[in-house]
């Protein structure tokens, strides 16, 4: 198709309207503050004049003849009795007034220097860009304002100050806006250029208003209340004030009223016009409604988060979207999203009718909107949308021809974009394939919780349906879940196994896990695998054989499991996969987990996104299936410890208590040796803390050593699926020190934490040390200490979230147009260099192994291939 672009926008220049331009643009002169006459018809020359556009149905605009919604609205104007300064240009005027002669209006730079000054500005701009030029102009202004003689007419210059918001004072005497305007009129066009002002777009005297433009009725529509009363827009109220005061000022001037009255009215007019432009000027009380709430005038409409820019232009709302609670469904693939039928019947995909799919689409239309899968709208080639109802569906089926568009219900396999706020990284919005399911929630595979940072405690998520072929293609190529498996943050898989799936895979990959071939087939069948040829043809097969059946035949891999760190000799430590056979090692969290291990990354790299996604889905379900088959229960018995271990732990805490008592005694006697740079008290706290932590760690170690190795709890811990040794130690042995702000709890009553303790009691128990485990239960004061830290951390998170959110917003705005160029440099929008090589090393993290390139592995691969 041809592109019909005849003219392109090259640049935009902003300017200011002269009085003449305002009058030329206007279609009505406004002379009266009245709005409607007795019949409720807009008054001619009033603020709701129908020459300014119409907002009532039935009326016709006198300017363009358009009816409601046809007429875009037209400006009017109002002659001001006395000129008034425009608040938004006050800083500019202040600079100009101070830098020009009060008599001849020339800039206070001698003729000889003015050319040099311009040359300097051009040079500065060439070197440092526009910002540098603006800074230079500011410097010139600061130099000029202290000049006290005009280099041209030799007139003496006085110091001019600005009395906020809008009054200029020259030697304590007020300069009226008329005087200001006169001085500005005298400025020459060439002098203006020094200030960076284009005299064609902005003559400075224009910013002292003699004529006021009246915005059209359409941008300040009135609303009719239920009672039939009319309620006017804030802008109309404000304009009413302006017109009223302006009329009074006219009358007083014509009647020859004393100067004081005229001055007062003039100031009032200035106030009203200032608040019309900006109702949040400091030092000026905001104009208010009768109810007391401030009026929302022009600036408030544009500015800030609720303003036109951020609310309406940068933040748009969208159709074809849905939002509801999410819940887990491990039977779904990771690239699928389950959606409720009601949603599927509300959201639609437009499909164009062709000769080949006409019969197919006619079926959708004939089923109507209430039978799934049906359709909601038909769009005729002339663009007319027709709603399908049960009454009209037969007739519409007859109408359908190639070229029509049918908006059909969502079906399995359609493309959707799924999102959870806050959208902090690109994996917060991913493309999923739709699966229509019963129920009322969105369903996702729990493995994709990590990229969305979602859980199922009531989280809601958004779903969007792309409406064009291009949008769907783009979503599928760029945003599809399989393409997002590798995180650009650390170059490892962000989607992996967790919780029960991880535990199941660990159990299955253990060396002595044996099952009959029949059971193995059952397991594979449970995860929708029908090709059993890869299972060895033996009566008894191992769990590793089952896993191997999912691996590609030519896959080689060596990795390390969690135990490798502690014991390199452990038979499970090294995970070895040869030619698609898992030879040794357990598949724990270190290999299948989220954000760690290279196994998933290698599969992704060698076999592509789709295979990796499919593989992930399979092992996830396999892990679940294994646990279902073998049964897996953890209970209170898993945290039992032997009497001997119990005794050892008791000894440790008792000994620690004795040691701490000794420390306190030393402290009280003043014989405690202080640490460098610490006071006696700080030393004591540090030493006690160290002792208590050591006690907890040692009891934890005893628990870890003596606990049953084959308990379900230990299995979960060892697989990395859920829980850790600290949790176990806290449950069965010792909860440990509750700390606030990095120290022991010390606040509460005078010199003590709770009234059950003696004053100045520094013993562990009195400062929040919990001696026994959760299983033994908490004493009342221990529960209180736990609640203290619990509430503290809750508040901390609640207060931190908005802070970090704002931090992120600033960071994103500052970096949004940085880009890596083809020569590896990072540059901003104006082509300034930010980094010479991206990230100092030029590595694309997504294509690396957690930020590094493993040269050894590449060489090995090349060598083995030959």
């Amino acid at each position: 198709m041809d592109e019909y672009v005849h003219k392109k926008v090259d640049r935009i220049e902003f300017g200011f309207m002269s009085s003449k331009a305002i009058k030329d643009m206007a279609s009505a002169k406004i002379v009266t503050p009245e709005l409607y006459d007795k019949e409720g018809y807009p008054v001619d020359g009033g603020l709701m004049d129908i020459r300014l556009g119409v907002i009532d149905p039935g009326l016709k605009c006198k300017t363009c003849g358009g009816k409601l919604k046809e007429c875009p609205g037209h400006f009017g104007y109002m002659e001001l009795a006395r000129p008034v300064i425009h608040i938004k240009f006050i800083t500019l005027l202040y600079d100009l007034v101070r830098c020009t002669c009060r008599d001849c209006g020339r800039i206070l730079i001698p003729k000889t220097k003015i050319d040099k000054c311009m040359e300097d500005l051009v040079r500065v701009e060439l070197e440092g860009g526009l910002t540098a030029r603006r800074d230079r102009i500011k410097e010139i202004i600061t130099e000029l304002k202290s000049t006290n003689q005009c280099p041209y007419c030799k007139a003496k210059q006085f110091k001019i100050t600005l009395e906020k918001p809008t009054t200029f004072l020259e030697e304590e005497k007020k300069i009226s806006p008329i005087e200001v305007r006169m001085r500005l009129e005298k400025m020459t066009d060439d002098d203006l250029k020094v200030f960076g002002i284009n005299p064609v777009a902005l003559r400075p005297e224009w910013t002292v208003l003699t004529v006021m433009p009246i915005p059209s009725v359409t941008m300040r529509p009135s609303i009719t209340l239920e009672s039939g009363e009319r309620s006017e827009d804030d802008l109309t109220h404000k304009l009413g004030d302006i017109v009223r005061i302006n009329q009074r000022l006219f009358e007083n001037i014509n009647a020859g009223a004393p100067e004081i009255i005229i001055e007062d009215l003039w100031d009032l007019l200035q106030y009203h016009i200032t608040t019309f432009f900006d109702n949040e000027v400091s030092q000026l009380p905001p104009a208010r409604h009768r109810s007391g709430q401030p009026l929302k005038t022009l600036t408030a409409r544009i500015k800030s988060k609720e303003g036109r820019i951020r609310h309406n232009l940068a933040g748009k709302r969208t159709n074809f979207s849905a939002r509801t609670v999410i819940s887990p469904d491990p039977k779904l693939n990771i690239n699928e999203v389950g959606i409720p039928k009601v949603v599927a019947m509300k959201l639609t995909v437009p499909q164009r009718v062709t000769t080949w799919n006409m019969e197919y689409l006619k079926q959708f239309v004939s089923r109507g909107p209430e039978t799934y899968p049906g359709s909601n709208y038909v769009i005729r080639p002339d663009g007319k949308r027709k709603r399908i109802t049960n009454e009209t569906k037969e007739q519409l089926v007859e109408e359908i021809q190639p070229g029509f568009i049918v908006e059909r219900h969502l079906m399995d396999g359609d493309i959707a974009i799924f999102n959870r706020q806050p959208s902090l990284h690109r994996m917060s919005m991913m493309c999923h394939k739709i699966k229509v399911l019963p129920g009322l929630t969105f369903r996702i595979n729990p493995a994709v919780c990590e990229p969305y940072n979602a859980d199922f405690d009531g989280d809601e998520m958004n779903l969007h349906i792309p409406q064009t072929e291009e949008a769907r293609a783009e979503a599928e190529i760029l945003m599809h879940v399989p393409t997002q498996i590798i995180s650009p943050r650390y170059g490892l898989s962000i989607i992996g196994c967790n919780k029960d799936a991880q535990t199941g895979m660990y159990v299955l990959s253990k060396k002595d896990f044996k099952l009959t071939r029949e059971e193995a087939v059952d397991l594979l069948a449970a995860i929708n695998i029908t090709d059993f040829s890869r299972l060895p043809d033996k009566e008894i097969v191992s769990g590793r054989d089952v896993i191997s059946a999912l691996l590609p035949k030519d896959f080689n891999f060596t990795g390390y499991s969690k135990v490798y760190k502690e014991n390199k000799e452990d038979p499970d430590a090294i995970v070895k996969i040869e030619k698609g056979h898992l030879k040794s090692g357990v598949l724990d969290n270190a290999n299948l987990g989220e954000g760690q291990g290279l196994l998933l990354r290698h599969i992704y790299k060698q076999y592509g996104p789709d295979f990796a996604s499919d593989f992930l889905g399979k092992i996830f379900r396999l892990g679940n299936a294994v646990l279902t088959y073998t049964g897996f229960t953890t209970g209170i018995g898993d945290i039992d410890i032997s009497a001997d271990a119990k005794k050892q732990i008791m000894d440790i805490t008792d000994n620690t208590y004795v040691e701490v008592d000794q420390l306190i005694k030393d402290y009280n006697e003043g014989t405690l040796e202080t640490l460098p740079g610490r006071s006696m008290k700080e030393t004591l706290e540090l030493k006690i803390l160290e002792k208590l932590n050591k006690a907890r760690n040692r009891s934890g170690k005893i628990v870890a050593d003596t606990a049953r190795k084959d308990s379900e709890l230990m299995t979960m811990i060892k697989s990395g699926g859920a829980g850790n040794l600290l949790n176990l130690a806290q449950m069965s042995a010792c909860v440990g020190q509750q700390s606030m702000r990095g120290g022991r709890i010390s606040k509460g009553y005078e010199d003590r934490t709770l009234s059950v303790f003696k004053k100045n009691d520094l013993s562990p128990a009195a400062r929040g040390f919990i001696k026994e485990g959760f299983k033994d239960g908490l004493r009342p004061h221990e529960l209180f200490f736990m609640s203290m830290t619990g509430r503290d951390s809750l508040m901390d998170t609640a207060l931190r979230t908005p802070k970090s959110g704002y931090l992120y917003r600033r960071l994103a705005n500052a970096m949004q147009d940085l880009k890596v160029n083809n020569d590896f440099t990072v540059r901003d929008a104006s082509n300034k260099i930010v980094q010479f090589v991206y990230g100092e090393d030029g590595v694309d993290v997504t294509k690396s192994e957690s930020g590094r390139i493993n040269v050894k592995r590449i060489i090995e691969k090349v060598v083995t291939e030959e």
Binding site: G129, R827, N831, K832, F836, G839, E840, D841, V843
Partner: protein, 89 residues
């Protein structure tokens, strides 16, 4: 409790020997030209460094000179950066 320093240090501290200060060198005119050509940029597009920056204040530079900074990098081993000297009032 911060102890107050009794007297001003007599010797000026040479920051360039500090472990956290990377190596700063002045680029020759030819190097500078080659750099601008390599990245196809003008002098104003380069990152900047103040002439009063502690690392270069003793190097007797002029605004417009280009400084080559060689940093140790945890990922790349060594990374090279360029900055143009500017005057800040």
């Amino acid at each position: 409790m911060v102890k107050k320093r009794k007297s001003k240090p007599t010797e000026k501290l040479d920051v360039s020997n500090h472990i956290l200060v990377p190596k700063h060198e002045k680029c020759s005119e030819t190097e500078k030209k080659a750099l601008l050509k390599k990245f196809n940029v003008e002098i104003k597009d380069l990152p900047k460094i103040s002439i009063n920056d502690a690392a270069i204040v003793d190097m007797n530079l002029q605004p417009g000179d280009v400084v080559k900074i060689t940093r140790a990098s945890p990922t790349a081993g060594e990374s090279i950066f360029y900055r143009v000297v500017i005057e800040i009032k």
